[in-house]
């Protein structure tokens, strides 16, 4: 951990590298990161509000709260899947703390989320009846926990991908399934009671519901959500860190 801190500069440079590579030579550059959530939201508004007649109040803000943070989670996970294998050239030829790779992938996703937030936050205030208040600051502790949760999973998937390249496809399917098992486009209360257990057991439900509580209802997230989020963070970091540190010495040989 100490070593990782000493390598802050490396993590920072990895993030800058990825951002530069992503946006260099593209005409719309950073706009692409905004277009994705915009199109998702437009699609879901048409599908659920106008076709399925979903009754949620302030449905667009509801979607925005869910989609932005789900996308952050999905982005973290897919970016860390290839974090080690895509940098095979470095791993095989230079010695450095390999933790920097998945951490770099997570922070790369976080930076993009923060860019998107900077644009969507004023939009939500002006057009979507987001109420300004100190309670909105609760977003940051939730975000902090979500990043820790993603770091644990990121360590895990980046390790598994070294040994099984299938992990990439598995993560894609897992994310698609996870999206529909999380109340992003529908409200938890609209789910039939029989099916609720599935959705309630999903840790992302606690994260997304907490954001929704803060952003839509100006409420502090319920203690139950905090408890579940902390548990998820603890388990994910434990498994992720153990897996990564157990197998990282074999990375240079396996990839």
């Amino acid at each position: 951990m100490k070593q990782v801190l000493a390598y802050r500069q490396l993590i920072k440079n990895l993030v800058i590298k990825d951002l530069k590579l992503k946006y260099r030579d593209s005409v719309f550059g950073f706009l692409w990161s905004l277009l994705n959530p915009v199109f998702m939201i437009v699609t879901y508004v048409i599908a659920f509000k106008y076709i399925m007649k979903a009754s949620a109040p302030n449905y667009v803000l509801f979607l925005l709260a869910g989609v932005l943070h789900w996308n952050l989670f999905a982005q973290c996970l897919s970016a860390s899947t290839g974090a080690v294998v895509d940098n095979a050239g470095l791993v095989k030829k230079v010695y450095f703390p390999l933790e920097a790779l998945p951490l770099g992938a997570i922070f790369f996703s976080l930076v993009q989320y923060l860019f998107a937030l900077a644009v969507f936050f004023p939009v939500a205030l002006i057009f979507l009846h987001l109420r300004l208040g100190w309670v909105l600051l609760w977003v940051f502790p939730i975000l902090f926990l979500q990043i820790l949760f993603s770091i644990g999973l990121g360590f895990l998937v980046s390790t598994v991908t070294v040994f099984y390249r299938d992990a990439k496809h598995f993560v894609e399917i897992f994310l698609m399934l996870g999206f529909w098992l999380t109340p992003v486009v529908y409200q938890f209360t609209d789910v039939p009671v029989k099916a609720r257990a599935w959705i309630a057991d999903n840790p992302m439900t606690d994260f997304i519901s907490s954001y929704q509580a803060v952003l839509l209802h100006n409420q502090t997230p319920a203690p139950l959500f905090w408890r579940n989020m902390l548990t998820a963070v603890f388990i994910s970091l434990l498994i992720g860190a153990l897996t990564f540190s157990r197998f990282k010495t074999r990375f240079a040989e396996e990839i």
Partner: protein, 269 residues
């Protein structure tokens, strides 16, 4: 340093009684599992379960066997041997990229190890020369301020002033090698590992590089050096070690060990 194991050909041993080693290995071995039909996917492992033809076969390869060695601080130490003799594996173990399968290795505590296993490996073709130098230096744990301090020297040494803000994909291979060499040298390592890279650039640049190496040596840094080139070995090294199929066959003054090497490869001196 009398602990050379009973290897097939006990080597003439020259040593320095001073305990200030830079790298110390004791009966270090490295095995690789050679896999035929290996592919890191679930499908192939699943198919392999049913079809013998697709099943993975494993064989153990001893890349290094029972190496015991102490390299002194400030020494220029060379490794020579044929292809596949384990030289590069040994450098990778010293740098920490690979772990030994058995035995121990100790490196002078707190030492920054600079690896030139291949020049410009950390380099990304889509980033400019400048961006690559900064990224590469941070791989070695250098802070931004530290890189800022040496950056002008890196550029000057590489003679790439005009191209430093051009993406690397527009560089010739000689140009990126020059940039790689320059940035590796200026990270100011305590132990420098060099693998077959001194033949970079044109003659003038080579001359400049070997002067730079000599200067690093004079400043008391340890240099570990792998090459096929007997001439380079003789020129730079205080001691060299001959490896054959992962075993240490001889160690000592360059002239003697090179004689052994030439006898082994059947090449006249």
């Amino acid at each position: 340093m009398n602990n050379l194991p009973a290897s097939p050909a006990p080597a003439p041993l020259s040593f320095n009684a001073e305990p200030a080693w830079a790298v110390k290995m004791e009966s270090l071995s490295k095995t690789f599992i050679l896999r035929r039909n290996h592919s890191p996917s679930l499908k192939s492992q699943f198919v392999g379960f049913f079809h013998k033809r697709y099943r993975e076969e494993r064989e153990t390869l001893w890349a290094l066997k029972e190496i015991s060695l102490e390299i002194q601080r400030g020494e220029v130490f060379g490794f020579i041997g044929r292809n596949g003799s384990g030289k590069s594996t040994l450098l990778k173990i010293i740098s920490g990229i690979l772990e030994p399968s058995s035995g121990t290795i100790q490196v002078q505590p707190g030492a920054r190890i600079g690896t030139m296993i291949e020049l410009g490996v950390g380099f990304n073709p889509d980033l400019t020369g400048r961006e690559n130098v900064y990224l590469n230096a941070s791989l070695y744990g250098m802070s931004r301020a530290e890189v800022d301090a040496v950056f002008p020297a890196v550029v000057e040494f590489s003679e790439l002033e005009r191209f430093i803000d051009t993406p690397l994909r527009n560089y010739s291979s000689g140009m990126s090698a020059r940039l790689g060499f320059s940035s590796a040298i200026f990270i100011n390592p305590d132990i420098l590992l060099i693998d077959e890279v001194l033949s970079v650039g044109d003659e003038a640049f080579q001359k400049k590089s070997s002067e730079k190496m000599a200067q690093i040596h004079r400043s008391g840094k340890t240099i570990l050096f792998v090459s096929h080139s007997a001439a380079a070995m003789e020129e730079y090294c205080d001691r060299i070690c001959l490896l054959d199929q992962g075993r240490m066959v001889a160690i000592g003054k360059p002239a003697e060990v090179l004689k052994e090497y030439h006898r082994m490869t059947g090449v006249g001196v």
